[in-house]
């Protein structure tokens, strides 16, 4: 009987087919056929019960639940979860949201493309003027150092939050611009999410070798090719075929040169808890050693004031190792005096895979050190 009914009313959707006399049959009945079906069942003395009054309502509710249950894409930078690690898509959309929410303060500059064609995005924080003296911050040049991209994201939000509220930051932005590149090595970052968490370099293949990538922090034209980098493409510190061969590096070089008015340049890495100034490629002290040393001491003292995290500081070559072709050696030689490299938490227990619950403390303490550097830069810039 039921089968006959189903054939007659084509729009009945039988969920559980009739099998035998004792097994119930489930049918979804569209509203237009409801009365017909009820009448039929009653006439034929087939007991029935309504299991779901309105299926659509249930479906709508389930959809809502699903949307909120999965890590829903934040709709504003206030919804964004700063205490977790994010993939590149999340960070790129964060950047766009931040610009959209703060159009008078933040803009996005695309300085170039990665090897695999991802945009190299720099957030510019500016309160006006024309080619004001600038401060540069970058995170994530080594893709496995996830605490840095996470901290960079927090710094971006911190700047827009504090402008107009924090006197020191406001004073800096009223005089200078801040440039922040959060995902400085996007191909590498993608690779750490999808293939190898420990990937450091770029993802550009090397002709004649099965090994991929160049160390973007050995690819700069400062002591390029000297002791402190490798000539082997398979090495984690491979310097590349020539200085600035990597688009991720060249884009910054071009930006710095065309800007022409940067006064501070801070490149952020992990791990080891160190604040380093030039040089890495030579033991000859840089001419501003004394001032950079004292400023580093102030910065790490401020950093420690938050949670007691202790940092070492000094020139790269003394404090960590000889390294040639590094970012801040090049920027320093371009005349950007306040050139520093940070190595964030920790000192080896977790290393590159720092727990997410340390993101906020790390970002907050590091910010104090950055403020010390930026304030000193502002006070020593005309």
């Amino acid at each position: 009987l039921l089968k006959h009914l189903a054939q007659t009313l084509r729009d009945l959707d039988v969920w559980m087919e009739p099998i035998d006399l004792s097994t119930p049959v489930d049918i979804r009945v569209p509203f237009t056929s409801l009365q017909t079906v009820k009448a039929f069942l009653e006439t034929e003395d087939i007991p029935y019960s309504v299991m779901i009054m309105d299926l659509q309502v249930m479906l709508d509710e389930e959809q809502d639940q699903m949307l909120s249950a999965r890590a829903a894409a934040p709709r504003t930078t206030d919804d964004y979860d700063y205490s977790n690690y994010h993939d590149i898509a999340d960070i790129y959309s964060f950047q766009d949201m931040l610009v959209a929410e703060n159009p008078n303060l933040v803009s996005k500059i695309v300085i170039g493309q990665s090897y695999q064609g991802r945009t190299l995005n720099v957030l510019k924080f500016s309160t006006g003027g024309t080619n004001r003296p600038g401060i540069w911050l970058d995170t994530g040049i080594h893709s496995r150092e996830w605490i840095t991209q996470a901290s960079g994201t927090w710094f971006a939000k911190k700047i827009v939050t504090d402008y107009g509220r924090d006197a020191a930051l406001t004073a800096i932005l009223d005089k200078m611009d801040i440039f922040l590149e959060i995902v400085t090595n996007p191909d590498g970052y993608y690779y750490t999410h999808n293939s190898n968490r420990m990937w450091r370099k770029t993802r550009k293949p090397n002709p004649g070798s099965s090994c991929v990538g160049t160390d973007p922090n050995r690819n700069w034209d400062a002591g390029f090719g000297e002791l402190g980098s490798s000539g082997s493409p398979c090495s984690e510190t491979y310097r590349g075929p020539e200085a600035h061969s990597e688009s991720e590096v060249k884009s910054i070089v071009d930006f710095v040169k065309s800007h022409g008015n940067l006064k501070a340049f801070v490149s952020i890495h992990s791990y080891s808890q160190m604040l380093l100034y030039p040089y890495g490629y030579t033991s000859t002290p840089c001419k501003d050693q004394s001032e950079l040393h004292d400023l580093a001491m102030k910065a790490i003292t401020d950093l420690a004031s938050m949670y007691g995290t202790s940092y070492r500081y000094g020139s790269t070559i003394n404090t960590i190792y000889q390294a040639s072709g590094t970012t801040v050696d090049w920027t320093y030689n371009q005349g950007i005096k306040y050139s520093y490299t940070f190595e964030l938490r920790d000192t080896g227990r977790y290393g590159f895979i720092l727990p997410a619950n340390q993101i906020l403390p790390t970002a907050k303490e590091t910010w104090l050190a950055l403020m010390a550097i930026m304030e000193h830069t502002k006070d020593n810039t005309n």
Partner: protein
């Protein structure tokens, strides 16, 4: 053996040479064997050598010009001193101190005791003519699970010459063993010694730095086992940390020892390389951690495999 009052005496090289020879003989008797957890190294009790070395403006780093150092907190030392008094902020002391950390873990580490370098207070280094280089260090070490810190004094010898020879370490620490791990270790041991449910795990910590609570002792054990390799492989141009336990599998208990195959990733800071090792590890509360076999895994350039496959 007189430790206190050992100061460099300039102008009397003969005396130092004789002294060094005697010291060298002592070291050779006291070779640290990596494979067995049972130590044959003497651990000095009591206080170490006097730490207050005088500044030696004329101690000459290898091949460098003589540097004068200003005293006080804000001294700007322009050259890395690799011999004589070491700057605790600079890398030579730091690398040597990390070797001491590895040594202490081979001696004292367990699933509930994992030691890390906290601070280098002072150090010195000297050539031991044609034999290698000797370091003396004053350090603070921290046990990571209990958060207990201890003061340590250590001596290391990095053998020179050809062939790879492990550094030799002596260290004495006060306060580090205060954490009472006996109950936890015993419970863990009993829980895992019967072979009903052999434990295993991978990616510890995971990409986000997370470690499941039940995996933590295995993480610590991996770190301690890695210390045997890191100690053996260390020299003055390396700085090792364990980056991650790629995976581990428990094997059948044998001779009352828990047994595991471990695949660990080590991070070497100077080369920045991630180095894969496979280890056969045993542990019991009584015998401590032993590493029976180690196997270096080749760096696989074509490996795009997800992290939880073993090569």
């Amino acid at each position: 053996m007189v430790w206190a009052g050992h100061t460099r005496r300039r102008g009397r090289p003969h005396q130092i040479l004789v002294w060094s020879m005697g010291w060298t003989l002592l070291i050779l008797l006291v070779v640290l064997t990596v494979v067995h957890g049972n130590p044959t190294v003497m651990v000095r009790t009591g206080s170490g050598p006097t730490v207050g070395f005088d500044q030696h403006p004329n101690s000459v780093p290898l091949g460098e010009d003589i540097q004068t150092t200003t005293e006080g907190e804000s001294e700007v030392v322009e050259e890395v001193m690799t011999t004589g008094v070491l700057n605790p902020s600079h890398y030579p002391a730091r690398r040597a101190a990390t070797v001491v950390q590895h040594y202490l873990n081979t001696r004292y580490g367990s699933p509930y005791r994992w030691i890390f370098l906290s601070t280098v207070h002072s150090g010195s280094a000297e050539e031991v003519a044609e034999m290698g280089r000797k370091y003396q260090l004053a350090l603070t070490m921290q046990e990571m699970i209990s958060n207990v810190s201890g003061q340590c004094s250590a001596e290391l010898f990095f053998p020179g010459g050809e062939g790879q020879s492990a550094p030799q370490v002596q260290a004495s620490c006060e306060g580090l063993h205060q954490s009472n791990t006996t109950a936890q270790e015993e419970a863990f041991y009993q829980q895992h010694r019967t072979s009903n449910n052999l434990a295993s795990g991978n990616n510890i910590p995971d990409s986000y730095g997370h470690v499941e609570p039940s995996m933590k002792p295995f993480w610590h054990l991996g770190g301690v086992a890695s210390s045997f390799i890191m100690l053996r492989e260390s020299n003055e141009s390396t700085l090792y940390n364990m980056a991650q336990v790629a995976n581990f599998t428990q094997l059948e208990t044998e001779k009352d020892q828990l047994r595991f195959n471990y695949h660990v990733l080590l991070h070497e800071m100077i080369s920045q390389e991630i180095i894969h090792w496979k280890l056969l590890v045993t542990w019991s509360p009584e015998q401590g951690v032993q590493v029976l076999q180690t196997e270096l895994q080749p760096k696989c350039h074509h490996c795009e495999a997800p992290p939880n496959t073993t090569n």
